[in-house]
């Protein structure tokens, strides 16, 4: 496992994601539904830390960001959707939670920027895949 080459952004984001996942999980002790995104965020944090399953990680973060953005936009400006508004926002919310929820969405922009080719996180995942 190439721990000695783990970039700072991987360390920082993984730690932040764990902290946020634990916070969401704490809320989940009261509202159990939040245990699901907390668990998924912990898995994603582990993948990030280990530099494994780069494609899955990137897809999950992308879906999380897109669903979260769609959710906010629909809630704020979605009245034109009429009765479908709540269906769209409901699906968006569930998809967002199943892709890591708020613990991931807060870090998603930085992660996706770092996952572009030539950036440390991209290299980290590819290197890890190669090493595996």
């Amino acid at each position: 496992m190439p721990t000695e080459n783990r970039p700072g952004s991987a360390r920082l984001n993984a730690v932040l994601m764990v902290v946020l996942a634990l916070l969401v999980g704490y809320f989940g002790l009261s509202a159990n539904g939040y245990l699901v995104p907390a668990a998924i965020a912990l898995i994603l944090a582990a993948l990030l830390w280990l530099g494994r399953a780069g494609r899955l990680f990137k897809a999950a973060v992308l879906v999380n960001l897109l669903s979260g953005t769609l959710l906010v936009l629909v809630l704020a400006f979605g009245d034109f959707l009429g009765d479908s508004k709540l269906d769209v926002s409901g699906v968006s919310l569930l998809v967002n939670l199943l892709s890591g929820g708020p613990a991931v969405v807060l870090l998603a922009p930085a992660l996706l920027l770092g996952l572009r080719p030539g950036k440390p996180l991209h290299a980290w995942f590819n290197r890890a895949a190669g090493a595996a």
Binding site: F27, A31, G33, L75, D79, L86, S89, G90, L93
Partner: protein
Amino acid sequence: MKKTATTIAAIAAMLQPVVAQAASFSGRVTLPDGRPAFGAMVTVFDADGERRQTVYAAADGSYAIRTPYAGKLKVRVRLSGFKDGTAEQLVTATGSARLNLTLGTFANLGEMNETLSASAFNARLPWPNIKRDRPAFVSQCNYCHQMGNSWTRIPRDHEQWIAEVEKMENMLAMQSRAEGRVIAETLWKRFDGKPFDASQNYGASSELSRAKVREWLVGDGYTFIHDADVAKDGLLYGTDEGHDILWVLNRETGKIEQYKLPDIDLPRGGIFSGMKLPIGQFTGKHGPHSLAQTSDGRIWITNALSSTLMSFDPRTKAFKTYPVGHDALYPHTIRVDKNDVVWFTIVASNQIGRFDPKTEEMTVTRLPSNGALRWLTDQLFPTLMRIGSWFPDQALHLNLSTHRFFGEQILAFPYGIDVNPVDGSIWYAKLYASKIGRIDPQTMEVKEWDTPLIGPRRPRFDANGIFWIPAFDEGALMRFDPATEKFETFRIPTVGKDEYETPYALNVDKRTGQVWMAANNSDRIIRFDPATKTFFSYPSPTRVTVLRDFSFTEDGQVCSSSSNMPAAAIEDGRPSFICIEPEGGAADRTALGS
């Protein structure tokens, strides 16, 4: 069977002609030691027990009551701290009787406890920290019903109380998980069925002996007449949120009619079908909640479960439904302004609805969110309810609701609403955010004020444009003058040691200026005189009296609906329409020459 000391001590039945009404009674009420029973309630039931009328004994123990009843009638005398006395009297349609009544003494503490109001029981709850822990109980448990009456104080083990609190959450109670645990623990410790000593004083006054109370039983044990309103035809209309029925009472004849609301393409529970069904006792799809009348005679109803507005034409008996639309969640209190525009609060999505019956234009306006977390909840709550509807009857979406960790404060909850008669502005109260707000009906500009006490519930204006606000969570009355923007507060007197009051709603009689308000923890109706700043207490003849909106008749009666949830917990096991006639007792005395 052994006769108890509570039975009537003396009946002197001297039938004699009476001028106007049938079944008139007069006499004296005494305590077991022979002293006059000031403030005792003398209630005459009609022959089939569906209607009753009550007067209060004067300082000398005298009473007089005229009723429209005839036949073999039950007469009951009741006073806090004493055992009821009862008698049966055969009275002809033109007869009157002289009937002296005596209150009894209790055989033991347990027997006495059965006569106490809920307030005596919940005053004894051993909160770990009363300032920290009781507010959620008052806000969420007393929200819909009394806690401490014979229905709700049944001894349960710890697990059963936890399950009970969770059941309430499935019926829209919004305590946090932590608050719920403390509530369950506290109720388990005290609602143990062990008798205790207590005394309650309902504050008899000379005003009391001038009053008269009329009650009409309605529906069944799961009828939930949320609001009642006196219409221009003099009839009393009541919205049955439990069964999707509009009840109509003719106070003169006692005749009660019912009109079923039209069906709608929604599942049972309406847009709340994701909750555990039925939600409380709401077995329908519309959940008619509040009502108000426009000058054309149409009655407008907010349907909380279907998120619709509905009109009812008393002439044609026809209903018409108007969707509120978008993400409106739980249309609540409704009022009509001087231009016949209909305004209503939408509690769970922090909005105000405006409907113009002439153009049939519906406008929904979002109110200030009062903080980022409340904004988030305002936005997400309707979405969660929609997700819940995909999994009917399971309340799964509550597992994602932020109230689980923040409690009910996470919502703003615009609740009561009224129209300022001075300038036509629209005012509302936010129950959970503890704010009042003003809407300019022309510009829709909103301004809000923090209330000095928490839990402003259903406020009303007086004729001079003073805003009167019940502080439900703090057992008080607030006065707000829009001109000076100053508040004044008045603590409602309680009836026993350590007790608190839960004033749900109020209304101001614009002819007299008197403020009438519900005191739902102790089975009372309260009148506040703004001139003398004095409270007057009218004990309800019926145990477990939970009143909602008040409405006034042309002849000065103050009417409401008795709607504890469930109605099965009320002494009669059914809800009722109830009207107080402030001078009705005095009129009966005069007519009977007492």
